[in-house]
Structures are given as structure tokens and as C-alpha cells.
């Protein structure tokens, strides 16, 4: 069990238990996150039922090209994250670092693309306000959800970048043993960020185009 002892922390007696606890704790946190986004999607669904036509019209205005590209980027990043975490567990240092760094690159790419999309949305007056582009008043509610949902998700991506960057750097400099349970925990979180987007994408980009 090379590298095992450095990764072991209080109050654990064995690395196996510690690893189990780290992923179990992360799953619990993900359950919490699921209710955060679940509540938001629930609120969206209620309004979609109340204002079906306005939501369809507004959904047509989102930028499906950016959205689709970003979906692909994020799904790929989940793959590289999985590779990175599994490689870390198997103590394949190089592969782990490559996987983690690629994940970082994709995550940043997601945010940059999202940034371009947000800029275009602004220019087209899709932010609910005085010059809002659409006529139906409930279209503003759709876009209120659009901004909140993509914003909250973007915050999660940013948080993900921070922790992935941190553990990658630690792995790089050797401060964190590759067998540390943190890699798997962070990977779990990152997959959640991905899955949330898998729900947001159809709600925001495809709903108005069916």
C-alpha cells in the first residue's frame, strides 16, 4: 500500500474506511445538491405549465449552438475526470495528471463558451428589463429562470474548477498522495455538475424547439 499512510487521516484506522467515508459523504452532499436543483427545476416546471405558449416562444430564443457545443464539452470533461480519478487510485501518476488537467481545460472552455453566449444574450436584450426583446410578459419568467439556472450552474462549475485545480496542483507537487480519497470525491461532484447540465440543456434549449 505505497502512499497509503500519507493519505490516512484522523479519525480513521484504515484507508479503505476513509475512502468509503469520503465517497459516502460526497454522495450525501450530492443528495443535497439534487434537491437544490430539483427545487429549481420544479419551479420551472410549474411556470411552464402555467405559461406554456410564452415558455415555448421564449425557449426558441436561446442559443442552441452554444448550448449543444457546451453539452459536448461538459460530457467529455466528465470522461476525462473519470479517467483522472481512476488513474489516481491506481497510482498512475502521469495519466492521473493528464486526466485532471484535461478536465480543467474543458471546464474552463465551458465557462468561456458560456460567457460568449451570455454576452450575445445581453446584446439581444434577453435579460428581463426595460428593453426586453419579447412581448409576452411570461417570457420574462422563462428568462429569469434561464439566468438563474445557468448562473447557479456556472457557480458550480467555477467551484469545480477551484477544487479540481487545487487537488491537481497538490498531486503535481506531490503534496497529496495519489491514493487520497479526495480525487474520487471531487470526481463525484464533477459528475453531478455534468448531470445537472444534462437536465438544463433540454429544459432551456430544446423545449422551445420541439
Amino acid at each position: 500500500m505505497s502512499g497509503g499512510q500519507e493519505a490516512l487521516r484522523e479519525p480513521w484506522d484504515s484507508l479503505r474506511r476513509q475512502r468509503e467515508a469520503a465517497s459516502f459523504g460526497t454522495w450525501l452532499f450530492l443528495g443535497s445538491e439534487a434537491l437544490l436543483f430539483g427545487g429549481l427545476m420544479m419551479a420551472f416546471a410549474v411556470n411552464r405549465v402555467l405559461h406554456g405558449d410564452a415558455f415555448a416562444a421564449a425557449g426558441h430564443e436561446t442559443n442552441v449552438v452554444y448550448g449543444t457545443v457546451n453539452t459536448l464539452v461538459l460530457l467529455t470533461s466528465s470522461l476525462t475526470m473519470a479517467v483522472g480519478a481512476e488513474a489516481a487510485r491506481a497510482e498512475l501518476r502521469k495519466l492521473a495528471l493528464v486526466g485532471l488537467s484535461l478536465t480543467l481545460v474543458f471546464a474552463l472552455a465551458f465557462l468561456i463558451i458560456k460567457g460568449f453566449e451570455w454576452r450575445d444574450d445581453f446584446r439581444q436584450h434577453l435579460f428581463p428589463g426595460p428593453n426586453f426583446k419579447l412581448q409576452e410578459s411570461a417570457a420574462r419568467i422563462f428568462f429569469a429562470f434561464y439566468w438563474v439556472m445557468t448562473g447557479l450552474h456556472g457557480l458550480h462549475v467555477t467551484g469545480g474548477i477551484a477544487v479540481i485545480g487545487w487537488i491537481t496542483w497538490q498531486a503535481w507537487t506531490g503534496q497529496r498522495a495519489l491514493r487520497s480519497p479526495a480525487f474520487e470525491a471531487v470526481a463525484l461532484y464533477w459528475h453531478l455538475v455534468d448531470i445537472v447540465w444534462v437536465f438544463l440543456y433540454p429544459l432551456l434549449y430544446l423545449g422551445g424547439r420541439a
Binding site: 467515508a21 459516502f24 459523504g25 452532499f29 402555467l50 428581463p128 411570461a138 429569469a144
Partner: protein, 566 residues
């Protein structure tokens, strides 16, 4: 005594040796500020929480004092209408999120959970410390909101008032509550993982003390309900800060959606506030009646039942909101269902007392007070869950009395009961018994004086959240405000004599109450690593008398600690 111990189901060590005398306790193991503020010791973090919560209890209490002073007379004397709104919002917000939700879990829970299951620490000690800093950050933000000018929406933040009309510091307060929510979630995750992963050998699920079960159930609710509150407050912030009209009726937004989401959190939250005190009371009642708890498995299932069904009754806060009659009937029915496990618990505590060797030590007085007051609070909950009565008393003092009976008469009493019970373990000192009993009785009477009149005036039609009222209600308000003076004394008194005991109190033995939990088989206060040797367990909790045999009535029963040395 020895023959009884021999008849016990499995031999254990009823009187663990008084080891570790002179060895450093967790209090003296390390010195200096950093050893406190960067500690990962669950016991020290519990004390950090206790200090912070005390501050917030005073802030919230100050709000209550202002409210009760204002209500002495029917006219407005001290506060403007707006100032009054800000006072009751301050009181509610601080007391709910910055005192009651974290009170028992983050102090006794933090301190005792690892001890009671025979662990060295919580599963994630650094997360535990982090949650305290989140709490402090949230508290600082809230204090900023209050000092800058306060909030006037009530603790419920109803839209569209909170989004479109309120001129107060709603955003800062909402963000403070979001932050403190993350702190709760961190604690909840930590507790659940600890109970799953760190139980001592032999400590099976159905041997866990009921306080552990209660904390476990609470943590489940915290982890699953709090994010919805986070969400709904973030939506308010989005609407106020960026003009995103999610709940704005002018564009077809639905303010009732806010209420649904808010109560989807806040009804479970009332159980977050009361479940831990169920656990505390189960410990106290068994110990001071020297009885095994009546119906242990039912007590456990009742906790889990409450945790689950608590998510299904939120609509009883919205009977008059205009939701459909069918929804009302379903929510009313489910609210009756959820009273069943609470009633089971009251029933089982009562039966635990039956034929017990009851002594009226201070913790027991608090526990008995809890049972009575909680029962009244719960029963009036059933009144409120009946739609026709609720239509009559919605937003009156009847509701105020209902939830104060549970949250103050219940949860705060249990907090004080637990404080006295575990004080010797936490500090290593005994408090002065006579004073403690006096404070407990005073608290009970002060409480009844303060809140019972509120049932009556509420039923007669006195609405909540007004500072002026028709003169015919004055008599009840005067009773209530006078009672509040007694209650305030009863809350302050223990702070005095407990502080006194830190210096002049007798040294506590390892197991001063002859109780059975694992936390009593280590020194008082415990060492940094909790136990001399990690305990192993081969019996259930509460062996205050031999199995399948009632306690005798001539001499005190021998008790048997749940664990043994390994």
C-alpha cells in the same frame, strides 16, 4: 447489588475505573488561541459553537424583550410600526436559524455523538471546523443586516413583499440564512457519515442511544430540506438584485410558489428543531427514573417516521392561501398522521416513568416540563391542522402560542436539561443542585405565564405581528409580558451558577448520574482521544435494571454501562 449485576444479560463494567486522573483532558491538552480556533477536536468545536450560540441567544432574546415591552399597552409606545416589524423579524430569524436549528446538534451533538457511539471524532473533523466558520460568517452577515437597518419581512420572507416592496436589508439577511444553511448541511453530512462509519465494535444500529438516532434523523432532514430553502432565498436575491421576476405577479409569476417552496423546507425545519430534543429527553427520562426506555424500537421508528412524513405536510401552513380545497384536505389528513409518532414518543416516555425510581434532579425537572409543554404544543398543532379551526385562528396568537410551546417550552427546555445533564462531562464540574432545580421550576412557570395567555387571546382573535391592539386584549398581554420577565430570569440564572461552578463547583466523577451511555465511561472532562481504550459494546442502551424485570423499590438499582474495555 452484586447479585443483580450478575443477573444482567451480559457482564459489563458498571463502574469503570477512574483512570486518567491527572492526565490532560481535551480542555488542557493544548494551549493558545490557535489550539482553539484551528482545532479539529469535536469537543472543542462544540464549545466554539456553544459560545457563538450564546451570543445569538442574547441577540434574539433582546428582540423578544423589545416586543414584549411594546405590547404592555395597546398603544404604540416604544417602537414605530416599522421598528416593530424589524424587531419581530430579528427575533424570528435569529432564534430559528442562529439558535434553535444549530442548538442541540452543534453543541451536544458535536460533543456527544462520537462519544456515544465510541468513536475518536466525527468522520470529517476539518469539515466540522469549516462549518463553524461558515456559521460565524453567516452570523456576521446577519448582524450587519441588523445593524445597518434590519429586515421587516418576518422570518418567512413572503413575496411579493420581500421582493418588490420591502425597503429593508432583505438581501443580506437572506444570504446570511443561505450561508448558515450550508453550515447546517455540512454538520448533517458529517453526522450521518459518522453514524454509518464510526460505530464501535458491537454498536449495532438498534443498540444506538436514542439521542444518536434523533441526531441521525435530524441530519437526514437537514441534508434534504435545507437546499430548498437555499434555493428559494437565492431566488429572492435574484429578484431583488437583478430584477429577475420569478415570483412577480405583474408578469404572471406566482407568489404562492414561494410559499410552497418555503414551507417545503420550513415544516421539516420545525422537526429539525424538535427531534434532537426528543433524543435528549429520552436520555434524561431513562436515567432519572432508572428505567429501560419503554418501546425502544418504536421510539426509533417514530423518529424515522417523523423525518419522512415531515416532508409531506407543508401545505398546512397555506390553508387560507387559496390553495385548492382538496389540497387542504390532504394536507390536513397528513398533518394528523404526523402527530402519531410524536404521540407515541410522549406515550413511551410516560410509560418509561411508570414504576420507575424517579428522582427530581434538575435535568429531570426540565425533561418533565418538556413532556408536558410539548404535549400541549403538539395537541394544539392538531387544532391548527383542522381546516375549520385554522381558518379562524390563522395568523393569530394561537399559532404563536402553538409553536412557542414546542420550540421554547419544548426545545429550549430540553436544551437546558441536556446542559445540566452533560455539564459535569463537558466541564468536569458539578453545578449547585438547589439553584438548578429552582431555575428549572422557574422556567416552567415563567414559560406558562408567558405563553398560555397567548392561546386565549389568539382564540379570541388577537392577530400576530401587530404592535397596537384593541384594549380588551391588554390583560392577556400584560400577563404574557410579566411572565416573560420570569422566563428571562430563569434563562439567565443558570448562566450565572454554571459559570460559578467552573471555578468553585465540586469536581465531577466519571459517571455522576450512574448513567449507561458510553460517554460516561471516560473521564470528566474526556481526554483528547475520548477513551482510554476504545470501547466495545454488547448490549443495548439504558440497562438501568436487569432485562425483563421491573426495577425494585427498596434500594437503588445497579446500572450497567453499555460498553466494556477492549
Amino acid at each position: 447489588m452484586s447479585d443483580i449485576a450478575a443477573e444482567g444479560p451480559i457482564p459489563g463494567d458498571a463502574q469503570p475505573h477512574q483512570g486518567l486522573r491527572g492526565a490532560p483532558s481535551y480542555l488542557t491538552a493544548e494551549h493558545g488561541l490557535a489550539a482553539w480556533f484551528l482545532t479539529t477536536d469535536h469537543k472543542r468545536i462544540a464549545l466554539l459553537y456553544a459560545a457563538a450560540l450564546t451570543v445569538f441567544f442574547f441577540i434574539g432574546g433582546a428582540g423578544a424583550v423589545a416586543i414584549r415591552m411594546e405590547l404592555f399597552t395597546p398603544q404604540a409606545d416604544l417602537l414605530s410600526a416599522d421598528g416593530y416589524n424589524r424587531m419581530f423579524t430579528l427575533h424570528g430569524t435569529v432564534m430559528v436559524w442562529f439558535f434553535l436549528v444549530p442548538s442541540i446538534p452543534n453543541t451536544f451533538g458535536n460533543f456527544l455523538l462520537p462519544l456515544m457511539i465510541g468513536a475518536r471524532d466525527l468522520a470529517f473533523p476539518r469539515l466540522n471546523l469549516f462549518s463553524w466558520y461558515l456559521f460565524i460568517g453567516a452570523g456576521a452577515l446577519l448582524v450587519y443586516a441588523l445593524v445597518a437597518g434590519g429586515v421587516d419581512t418576518g422570518w418567512t420572507f413572503y413575496t411579493p413583499f420581500s421582493t418588490a416592496y420591502s425597503q429593508s436589508y432583505v438581501m443580506a439577511a437572506a444570504l446570511a440564512v443561505v450561508l448558515v444553511g450550508f453550515s447546517s448541511i455540512a454538520t448533517g453530512v458529517n453526522f450521518i457519515a459518522t453514524v454509518h462509519m464510526l460505530r464501535a465494535p458491537g454498536m449495532t444500529w438498534f443498540r444506538l442511544p436514542l439521542l444518536v438516532w434523533a441526531l441521525y434523523g435530524t441530519s437526514l432532514v437537514i441534508v434534504l430540506a435545507t437546499p430548498v430553502l437555499t434555493l428559494v432565498l437565492l431566488l429572492i436575491v435574484a429578484e431583488r438584485a437583478f430584477g429577475l421576476p420569478i415570483f412577480d405577479p405583474a408578469y404572471g409569476g406566482d407568489p404562492l410558489l414561494f410559499q410552497h417552496l418555503f414551507w417545503f423546507y420550513s415544516h421539516p425545519a420545525v422537526y429539525i428543531m424538535i427531534l434532537p430534543s426528543f433524543g435528549v429527553v429520552s436520555e434524561l427520562v431513562t436515567c432519572f427514573s432508572r428505567r429501560q426506555v419503554f418501546g425502544y424500537t418504536f421510539m426509533v421508528y417514530a423518529i424515522l417516521w417523523i423525518a419522512v412524513v415531515g416532508f409531506l405536510v407543508w401545505g398546512h401552513h397555506m390553508f387560507v392561501s387559496g390553495q385548492s380545497l382538496y389540497a387542504n384536505i390532504v394536507f390536513s389528513f397528513l398533518s394528523f398522521i404526523i402527530a402519531v409518532p410524536s404521540a407515541i414518543k410522549v406515550f413511551n416516555w410516560t410509560f418509561t416513568l411508570y414504576r420507575g425510581q424517579i428522582t427530581f434532579d434538575a435535568p429531570m425537572l426540565y425533561a418533565l416540563g418538556f413532556i408536558g409543554l410539548f404535549t400541549l404544543g403538539g395537541l394544539t398543532g392538531l387544532f391548527l391542522a383542522s381546516v375549520p379551526i385554522d381558518v379562524h385562528v390563522t395568523d393569530t396568537y394561537f399559532v404563536v402560542a402553538h409553536f412557542h410551546f414546542i420550540m421554547v417550552g419544548g426545545a429550549v427546555s430540553a436544551f437546558y436539561g441536556g446542559l445540566h445533564f452533560w455539564w459535569p462531562k463537558i466541564t468536569g464540574r458539578m453545578y449547585p443542585d438547589v439553584w438548578a432545580r429552582f431555575a428549572a421550576v422557574l422556567m416552567f412557570f415563567g414559560f406558562c405565564f408567558t405563553f398560555f395567555p397567548q392561546f386565549i387571546m389568539g382564540f379570541l382573535g388577537m392577530p400576530r405581528r401587530y404592535q397596537v391592539y384593541p384594549p380588551e386584549f391588554q390583560i392577556w398581554h400584560v400577563l404574557s409580558s410579566s411572565g416573560a420577565v420570569l422566563l428571562a430570569c430563569a434563562y439567565l440564572l443558570p448562566m450565572g451558577y454554571l459559570a460559578w461552578s467552573l471555578i468553585w463547583g465540586d469536581r465531577a466523577e466519571e459517571d455522576p448520574w450512574k448513567a449507561t451511555g458510553l460517554e460516561w465511561r471516560t473521564s470528566s472532562p474526556p481526554p483528547r482521544d475520548n477513551f482510554r481504550t476504545m470501547p466495545a459494546v454488547d448490549t443495548g442502551p439504558y440497562f438501568y435494571h436487569p432485562d425483563k424485570e421491573g426495577p425494585r423499590h427498596d434500594e437503588p438499582e445497579a446500572h450497567q454501562n453499555q460498553g466494556r474495555e477492549t
